[in-house]
Subunit: 431 residues, 2 copies
């Protein structure tokens, strides 16, 4: 008999079915036991009336892997509207130990460190795992949007000879006796590949030796990177990013509707035109509204980003707002300056509900501009990066979306570790 999943009982009313999954919980009443079976798609209620079967099943520990053969019956008591009657329950894989916490409750009753220490068990909790369906949907939405625009997927080295974004916060490796580093981003490689495919993307891990133990720092996270050539300005990049975000939202609905419902996610609407405000204008607006002296500061404080998030929501009904034109002083050396106001850059942040979600912008493309930005001296290990620019690079730009940050914002997770399968940080190297 073909296996039936827990979310497909309605299609088999009054028919015999075979379910497989994990024994989530059993509730023993005077004459009947309710056994909850969890599988990849949901939870099925199994009603055990037979005395001998009840006795046998009472011995099974939570998380025992079981197979249930029984009949589907409509029931108003069951959450799904259907339950299994007259079951035969067989053990596929026995459990002899109590799980470190109960999975049957609406939320796991344990502190985050305990949850993370026991991730392999905790992730089985329906609300926990739901967040990772959203991760999968986000990756798919990112890719399908860019595929349809003719981007090519690439895979770049994660072991590099020199730090890319900055000298700090890199992990050092012993590379066959030579020093090497884990890549902090695919930045230089995706730029090189603009010379090959014009439009490229990569979803891959990046590594930051963040010495901070905060709710938003990870030593490894998934970076969804895109880069595109033959742009007029960073505005072309922002247009593609808007499409990508819209695609990620759409794919979440298509691929992860159950997860969205379970987590009560209020999906954002991506307006056709995400509002754009220049960094300097943003500062002036904030100064005018709050009375704080903000204009001239080199960056926006978190409180200012929140203010902008509220402004975008109130004035434009948008959960998103672009801030463009960040000061060059605060952007990496490869950032393209605003030709009219060279102290500002052709770069941007995309804020989602008042928090930075994406950073991007136009990059330098002329070799001479790179030399000038590096004060004429190419740091060791950078030669290979700059070579591409010697041999003709079009105006180009791109962006990077942190997968875990996106899912955290979507689900309202307070700590990015809640939406990371097996997080790595200053203190955590296992499981």
């Amino acid at each position: 008999m073909t296996r039936t999943y827990s979310d497909a009982l309605a299609a088999h009313q009054d028919e015999p079915v075979r379910l497989q999954g994990w024994l989530l919980h059993q509730r023993r009443l005077a004459n009947v036991s309710f056994v909850l079976l969890r599988d990849a798609r949901g939870i099925a209620q199994v009603v055990v009336s037979d005395t001998a079967e009840r006795e046998r099943v009472s011995e099974y520990m939570p998380e025992t892997v079981i197979e249930v053969r029984g009949r589907v019956v409509a029931s108003e008591q069951a959450t799904s509207g259907f339950e299994i009657h007259d079951p035969e329950i067989a053990v596929i894989s026995a459990v002899t130990e109590q799980t470190p916490f109960e999975l049957r409750r609406k939320e796991i009753n344990a502190q985050l460190p305990t949850v993370l220490d026991n991730a392999a068990v905790a992730l089985r909790h329906p609300a926990k795992r739901a967040a990772f369906r959203l991760s999968a949907a986000a990756m798919q939405g990112f890719r399908s949007t860019l595929d349809s625009r003719g981007f090519t997927e690439i895979a770049t080295p994660k072991i590099v000879a020199a730090a890319t974004e900055s000298g700090a916060n890199v992990f050092a490796i012993d590379y066959f006796g030579r020093p090497a580093y884990l890549a902090q981003s695919p930045q230089f490689y995706k730029q090189k590949m603009v010379g090959v495919f014009e439009q490229v993307y990569e979803i891959a891990p990046v590594f930051r030796a963040e010495p901070h133990d905060t709710v938003r720092h990870l030593a490894q996270y998934v970076s969804m990177d895109a880069e595109m050539g033959f742009i007029e300005s960073h505005r072309d990049v922002m247009a593609v990013l808007s499409d990508v975000i819209a695609g990620m939202v759409t794919t979440s609905q298509e691929m992860a509707s159950t997860a969205l419902e379970l987590l009560g996610v209020d999906l954002p609407v991506v307006p056709d035109e995400i509002p754009v405000v220049h960094f300097r204008t943003a500062q002036e607006m904030i100064e005018a509204a709050t009375g704080e002296s903000v204009v001239g500061e080199p960056d926006l404080a978190p409180a200012h980003e929140r203010w902008l998030g509220e402004w975008a929501k109130t004035e434009h009904g948008s959960d998103f707002v672009f801030v463009e034109g960040y000061p060059m002083a605060k952007r990496p050396f490869y950032t393209y300056p605003d030709p009219d106001r060279p102290e500002f850059s052709q770069s941007f942040d995309l804020l989602f509900r008042g928090l930075e979600l994406v950073t991007g912008g136009q990059r330098l493309h002329a070799y001479s501009d790179y030399l000038a930005a590096l004060d004429g001296e190419v740091p060791e290990g950078f030669e290979g990066y700059l070579d591409a620019f010697k041999f003709g690079m079009p105006p180009h730009g791109g962006f990077a979306i942190g997968l875990e940050r996106w899912v955290a914002r979507l689900t309202g997770a307070q700590n990015v570790r809640e939406v990371t399968l097996f997080p790595r940080d200053l203190n955590r190297l296992t499981p």
Copy 2:
């Protein structure tokens, strides 16, 4: 005017167009110059007759980024059947240096090390980059096949506390002052995740500190991993793998037909039933055919794999053949033994044209079996891995496909570095 790509000239016959790309080559005849423009999709021929324009263009170095405005004219001389007449050619990004080798020839006239040292330029060569369109298509085919079967994409840690596959060949990292390693595979994590989603996959880099400088060893490669629960045996895994391979072939045709044509790739046909031969039977067949004493050896030599590849082609018309039942002695400790012949395993290799392409199999799922396989002693750092098995794991198995190996086989590349964007090996850490 919207940009037109080089492969779309036919749709614009006798119309004005705007092209952008790289100056691949210019051929100067007595009264006319032929300028070849390369963009992401192909090559367009531009005919320059105007004397002043010819003079200007003659100054432009190969790889100069240019914009061409002109008129599309049908022409029997042009490879595509169309060329651009009466062009105005503007420089977008100038080049002042000769490229390290010419990109205009059918093949790059340089040794592989030189090509790899100058990858950012070499990859622009149409035949070079074509291989990476096949990589992109392979990844997409892998994912779409598994998506349609209900698999969930995951992202697992690449920094781990203990070596997974074996103690050898791992890269050591300084992890905030503690020792850590780069993951050799997502093996243990994908198994844990079977307890969560039942069916999972991941495409991500893996790292091997291979001390061998051969045509097939890389220090980093892309592993396309899948793992699935509630299987009857490794045969269920083989069935999914067959579908995945077929999906990868189909997607190559759909997404990369130009690349296939350019490289003259003879796409394999994946039969509905890929032939399966038991390891022992394979040895007996080889012994009978060759007279070599093979039966009883713990593994197949490359020559034996080639023999099996030819056998599959001749006897079954298949480019693929499964060898199942490898001796336990040659498989990792987590491999599931054949219940009837416990010296053999429920694992397999998939050979493609006589070379190993994929390794997979059923895994142990009972905690007690893991303890026994580890002689009762859990190595340090492994506790967190085994926890998942304490709390109910169904029979499961999976496989891993090396992306670069697949593309190398498909294109007939002699060296896997030819189909790796920026390879990392014993001697190579840049570019």
